[in-house]
């Protein structure tokens, strides 16, 4: 990443890789998170649009998918247009999504019977092209299925988010399997921001980018989506992880 971008050998190599990956269409746009801390670590400075992304919860979040749903809602909220959300178990609570920035008027829910039809509905949504984003709660996502979804997303420019959610905690090891997704995120719940009075502060997540094509993985402690779908940087880590660690150790 630190090599100069003008190096002709590197440029040629990048073009060859792009040709192998089949990137022929218009260059993809990005959606910055609006946090310099997060954006500068992502390739091209934001979440690539018109691609497939994977999000899962950490710990118990792998089965309830609550934080992952808020994270996905926050991304979808900042894209203009309608959002298709495909699920197998209908437990999304619309007021909760609205508080993550995604109002109910923008979400079309699809309740499909099993994973296969969820993936089929997701692909239809991605192919249609006039949606802002398609989110789907899926457990199993094979390489073939993810490649189909990624291609569908690429041809139409719609962003797809596969919200990985398993029935049992043990199945979550499936998350290690490779897929064609552009990025893979894991959102784990952390104790909320401390308040001077008793009570629950703004929710905090450990946002881990486990895998990114042409990028490096990292993890960051962030504040959960606000009412407009934006993540926040906690005040005590704003000075950098090292400073935060120092504060924890000596404060």
């Amino acid at each position: 990443m630190s090599a100069p971008r003008s190096d002709p050998a590197l440029v040629a190599l990048r073009q060859r890789i792009a040709a192998i990956e089949g990137d022929h269409g218009p260059p993809l746009a990005e959606l910055p998170f609006g946090l310099a801390e997060l954006d500068r670590r992502l390739p091209k400075g934001g979440l690539a649009l018109g691609c497939l992304h994977e999000v899962a919860g950490g710990g118990n979040g792998a089965t309830d998918g609550a934080a992952a749903a808020c994270f996905a809602a926050g991304i979808a909220a900042r894209l203009p247009g309608q959002v298709l959300w495909c699920v197998t178990q209908a437990d999304l609570f619309a007021p909760g999504l609205e508080q993550a920035g995604l109002p109910s008027g923008r979400v079309i829910h699809v309740e499909a019977g099993d994973d296969t039809s969820v993936l089929a509905c997701m692909e239809e949504g991605l192919r249609h092209g006039s949606l802002a984003a398609v989110v789907a709660d899926v457990a199993r996502l094979s390489m073939t299925a993810s490649r189909r979804l990624h291609l569908a997303a690429k041809t139409s420019g719609t962003t797809g988010i596969a919200l990985r959610r398993w029935r049992r905690q043990a199945d979550a090891s499936d998350f290690g399997q490779p897929t064609a997704a552009m990025t893979r995120w894991r959102i784990s719940e952390l104790p909320s921001s401390p308040l001077p009075v008793p009570g629950v502060g703004r929710a905090r997540w450990l946002v881990e980018l486990l895998r990114a094509r042409a990028g490096e993985s990292f993890d960051l402690e962030l504040e959960a989506c606000d009412g407009t779908g934006h993540l926040g940087l906690p005040a005590d880590v704003a000075g950098g992880p090292a400073a935060a660690a120092g504060r924890h150790a000596f404060g």
Partner: protein, 460 residues
Amino acid sequence: MLAGRIGNRRLLTAVDALAAGLGLKPGMPVSKAQALVPDLRIEPANVAEDLASLERLAFWILQRIAPIVAVDPPDGIVIDVAGAAHLHGGEDALLDALTGRLALSGVTARAAVADTWGAAHALARFGGDLADMPPEALRLPAATVAGLRDMGFGRIGDLMAQPRAPLTRRFGPELMRRIDQMFGDAPEPIDALRPADLIETRRAFAEPIAAPETIARYIGKLVAALCAQLETQGLGARRLDLICHRTDREMQTVRVGLAVAQRDPARLTRLLCDKIPGIAPGFGIEIMTLAATITEPLAARQTSTLAPEAPDLSGLIDILANRVGAQAIYRMAPVDSDVPERSIRRIPALAEDAGAGWPHHWPRPSRLLPRPEPIDTMALLPDQPPVWIAWRGVRRRIARADGPERIFGEWWTREAERIAVRDYFRVEDDAGERLWIFRAGDGEDAATGSHRWFLHGVFG
């Protein structure tokens, strides 16, 4: 009380509940009835009118329930639900929906699902086991039934135990044909009701077709012809029925619904072709008919290049609805209710926006459990959050909590909720998981609730 003329006798054809209580029954001579009940009110039966209204009812069912419907005079309607039941959530759900909707419109109906027309006819009228039914269940002429009764046959099972040849010689082939039809040994195609003003195209093939590509090609041709007909009448289709008549006299049906009226051939063809894997061509399809069962006026619309239009999602909604069912695609709309599970309702995906959202002063979870799950807790009464909770066998210590948010029962909906109270807390455990729990009751008065604790949702 209705009376009609059968042959040269005047017989009762229908009696109401009151008359049935007086011992009158259909098939009784009018003179006998008048002798039993002196001041009887007798109306002449109007067979033609009855048949016409039965046909209207059958058309209503055709539009809503299944593509193949026929009248079964004098008092029945036969529906082929193969290929339609899954759209209503199964055969039982379809029956419930059908009888419920008929009851709402003031029609008392008895319905049954069976593998054959004959069996369904008998089950709807007599019920119970087929072999135990009386010979009247066989749709035979009254004279044959009387003859069977004279010979002591009180059950269909008795008839089946007898050798066929002597029975056929005595009563004619009709008896055995009806029994075979009831048990599925003889075919009995349903001659589907086709109202005069139904917009329909039809294509018969010199050679039966079976290959999916061929079916797709002819679907395209039928749709083009249908759309041309729709266009001349200024209509758009809301529901399409494709009926494939096979060489073995079976019928395969495909029904697709549309969220808004359409007559775009490409889109309609796409919807029908998605369903081709569900068509079993058997030895080949001889005739294909395509009908627009429900139509709506569809006028040309003026478009503007100045203001960007909202993207048209109806095509996507139709494709998804025909894949997973129309009731599985919805949008959420707010309801004025503080009770969380009542504060949302499902509206059709293309419905107008319901406007204002939910009040924002309390945080709401992103996942709400289908029903609150009981948890074990230790908490101080009346208004402290728990110190620990145990949910699904895992015990968590509560580090922080917000609450209580008191939600009162809706006394206007149910008497039991008149003084019911729930106290909601948003709690966070040691590991940082945020959960939404509530206590049924206000913590002081046992009448307000059981004082048990429940978990209702998970925050992100």
